[in-house]
């Protein structure tokens, strides 16, 4: 699905150069469930942002579905992104002014899909994550777990091949965290590639592979046998 080769990312200010990622080599196959772990500031989020094409690497190669996208323009990246990648954030990032259904529909709004089909798909995905009864509610009226379910629904409504989740359970209690993890797992079983950043070893256990980052380096990769 994607391949990072000697990929680095630096942040420069006038005085210091911070290395966020240092010659990272990662390959992720289609249908994999990968967890990325590591202490704060090790480059997890940077890696995820680069994989999600929200950020550009400073050097190195990024091949996504056979294309080297490292030098692509923003518009081109936006196009690849919206076709293939869904995002789930720790802080949900729902728009306060839109209802649950509208927040989910947002992901389809920029795909030139007719309104009727959009509505059907939103209804379907809301059923799937069990939030249909809250369709007309505002995000502020939902609990954290419900909000994250909306965010998951938004990430998958466009039939994206890959979901990038940045600490999806970080703001949730353990029961709700569990729920979200099970949802991701079942998505993965249906064939969606999932890359997840997490601090929680137990949640990392849902993944088949864990990549450990430290100071911008990949230190270990653990493979788990299928459960």
């Amino acid at each position: 699905m994607l391949k990072l080769h000697n990929l680095s990312k630096y942040y420069r200010t006038d005085e210091v150069e911070t290395v966020a990622l240092n010659s990272v080599n990662i390959e992720i196959e289609s249908g994999e469930f990968v967890a990325i772990m590591g202490p704060s500031g090790c480059g997890k989020s940077t890696l995820l942002n680069i994989i999600g094409m929200l950020d550009n690497p400073s050097s190195g190669e990024y091949v996504f579905m056979g294309e080297d996208v490292a030098g692509y323009s923003e518009a081109k990246l936006a196009n690849i992104r919206k076709q293939n990648i869904g995002f789930i954030f720790q802080s949900f990032n729902l728009i306060d002014e839109l209802t649950v259904a509208e927040n989910i529909e947002l992901a389809l709004l920029y795909h030139n899909i007719p309104s009727k089909i959009r509505k059907e798909r939103v209804a379907h995905v809301m059923d799937k994550v069990g939030i249909a009864h809250r369709a007309k509610h505002m995000p502020s009226q939902l609990s954290g777990g419900q909000q994250q379910r909306v965010a998951v629904a938004r990430a998958v409504v466009g039939d994206q091949a890959m979901i990038l989740a940045d600490e999806p359970t970080g703001n949730l209690d353990s029961a709700h965290g569990q729920e979200v993890m099970e949802m991701l797992q079942s998505l993965n079983e249906e064939g969606t590639t999932i890359v997840m950043v997490t601090h929680s070893p137990s949640h990392a256990d849902y993944a088949r592979r864990t990549i450990n980052l430290f100071d911008g380096h990949v230190v270990t990769e653990n493979l788990r046998a299928a459960q």
């Binding site: 989020s45 942002n49 999600g52 929200l54 950020d55 518009a75 936006a78 196009n79 992104r81 919206k82 995002f87 954030f89 802080s91 990032n93 729902l94 728009i95 306060d96 002014e97 947002l106 992901a107 709004l109 920029y110 795909h111 938004r154």
Partner: protein, 823 residues
Amino acid sequence: MFKNYIMVAVRNLVKNKLYSAINIVGLAVGLAACVMIALFVKDELSYDTQWAKADSLYRLHTTFTLPGRAAIPTVRAPGPVKSQILEYFPEEIAATTRFNSMNPVLRYEGKVVSEQIFWTDPETADLFDFNVVAGDIHKALNDNSSLAVNETFAKRYFGDADPIGKVVTLTNYQIERDYKITAVFEDLPNNTVLDIQALAKIDEADFTGQTWEFGEWYSTNNYLFFELKEGADVGVITSQLNTFINASAPPSGGEGQVTDFMQFSVQALTDIQLYPFGRNGSEMKPTGSMTSVIIFVSIAVLILLIACINFMNLATAKSTQRAREVALRKVLGAKRGQLVTQFLGETVMVAVMGLVLGIVLVEVFLGPFSAFVGKELAFDYGDGLTISVLVGLVLFVGTIGGVYPALVLSGFLPATVLKANKSAETNGSAALRNGLVVVQFAISIGLIIATSAVFGQRWYATSMDPGFNKDNLMIIRNVGRAGAQQNQDAFRREVLRLPGVVSAAYSSDSPASGNESNRNVMREGADPATESVLIGTHSVDYEFFDTYEIELLKGRIYSRDFATDGTPAIPSDAEAQATQGTLIINEAASRRLGFTSVEEAVGSRVRMGRNPASMEIIAVIRDMQYQSLRRVMRPEMYLLNRADFRTLTVKYTGSPAPVASAIEGVWRTMMPDVPFRHDFVDTVMAAEFEQESQQSVLLAVFAGLAIVIACLGLYGLASFTAERRTKEIGIRKVMGATVFDIVRLLIWQFSKPVLLANVIAWPIVVYGLVTWLETFPYRLEAWWLIIFCLSAGTIALSIAWVTVGGNAASVARTNPIKALRYE
């Protein structure tokens, strides 16, 4: 504590440079516009209050109500009324005086010039306290060979020499006389309706050949002022004016009373400037009007309102970002009152900065503004009233701008603010802001539409087809003066020989002169008492119709081939009943005389007033706006009457300057003692609308200012909104929205209030403008207003888009993770 407030306020101003700049600049521009308009209005309201007797001086006006014609109001009165009204109202009137404007030929040391001089009565020196700088004005006005002149006049002829005792020669009608300068007065200030550079004493014995100037009851050539006795009631005079007229006026020859067709009215001197009575151009100089004062005051208020709205909008928008500061202050023990004081103090501080910048703007722009409106406006810092008004204004603006955010902010519950960890924007303040933006844009759109309509009406009036070709026509004046009149034929012959001259025609008036001259006309055999109608009269030459390219509907124009063409003089004996003549009338006159068609009119015969001659109508011409574009077309006749020629109209080709100087050369050799004066028909006609044109430019400037200030506010608000919506924009971008999608989203957000503003502004403004347009006899058709509305809407929308779009684009281009990382 206070120091902390100041520090926080200053740091906030510096941190939010954009908002601060918009607030201060917007307010400064608004205040500067207000101050300048206030000075203009103050000046308009001050007219003629400087005279010592200002409160007891009145002017007598005459209105003619002629059958079949709209009333003809004039600001002048007949000459004989001066002494008769004084005798009739001995208890009320203390003194009366007249001013009669004439243009005698003045000769001094080889100069030959026509100068405007007012002939006046000696009482003028008592009624009006001219500031005499040399000589004695009482003496001057009691001597029929003395002149009182102003300083500019004295300087023009005598330079730095002492003008007192200098002698100039005036030729007025047949009288040529030496006048000695015996008084010099300061130039009259700008704020008086009097416009006098020189005064001469009326000696009625000098005008026995021109009784219409001072001796006739039915000629109104004098501005007649009277002084009310102390304690007297002007109402007594007004209520008895009709009795006075009927008792004093000589019989008019018709049936009924004199007051059936002639009435007097009275106006206080101090009201003349703002409540003009007569027709445009009949005052000594153009007056203002209460309408324009009200319009300008409204504009000032609207501009200030827009600036205040900016202030409020930006203050409320910004304040939500300071929720944390407020919450912390509360947690630390600040009382609500203290917070309100703090925030009000901040807005007042910004308002003071706006005031300072505004005064700088006034200093810079007052000069050009004064020159443009033709006034001497000065900003007096020492004036207690001005200062207190300004300080009051700043406190008002600062308080209005600050009171809402102060109350909203101080009302926040600290726990909610601190826990929510986000800007505590309430729905209320957002709705208020949107509402205020709608108000701002409704005002701006209204001003754009009104300005377009004013320009449109002016364009319509000046470009309206007057019924003749006004291009390439030069008017040579003074041809009716003694010394020129006897040379008319020879002069015309010489002019026609000059290169570039196409044709030349004499006539009594030139276009847009506004002269009112009428005669009674009736069809042959009609009853003079009941069937005679009043028709406007011009005297014209054979070449007149060709020179002006006037359309002939039926018949033939005057020709030298017909010996009978022309208007016979009134015969001295009754036997000359058999004389005949011809005349040409316009369509309106044909209808007025009762002809059903122009075919019927041509060949018919009419009689004019006391003249027994039988006149054949030889042609009917198309109606034309010869008298004035500002008046309704009247029934007119064009008589071939050589005795009455006062102007020569020359049709030329090519550049006018060489033609004019060639004609002047001919004039100087043939008539060196008569001043040469020339004009152009198109400029004379345009000058009728000069005041409107000046006011429409002012209106446009202030409307422009209002829009600029509104846009400043919109820009500030848009950038604030974009900032507030950063997270949402980030999410949308992650979802695949392009920069264009984001820009469109933000633009649409600000298009809604602008569209709503259109819906509100259109009906109100259209209603007002339709009412306004109805005051013009010839007006822009109402469908133009639809175009103006649509254009104003488009302009406002485009300006809003440009204002919001640039900002939106830069926000939309930022990397979304920046927005989403720090939540």
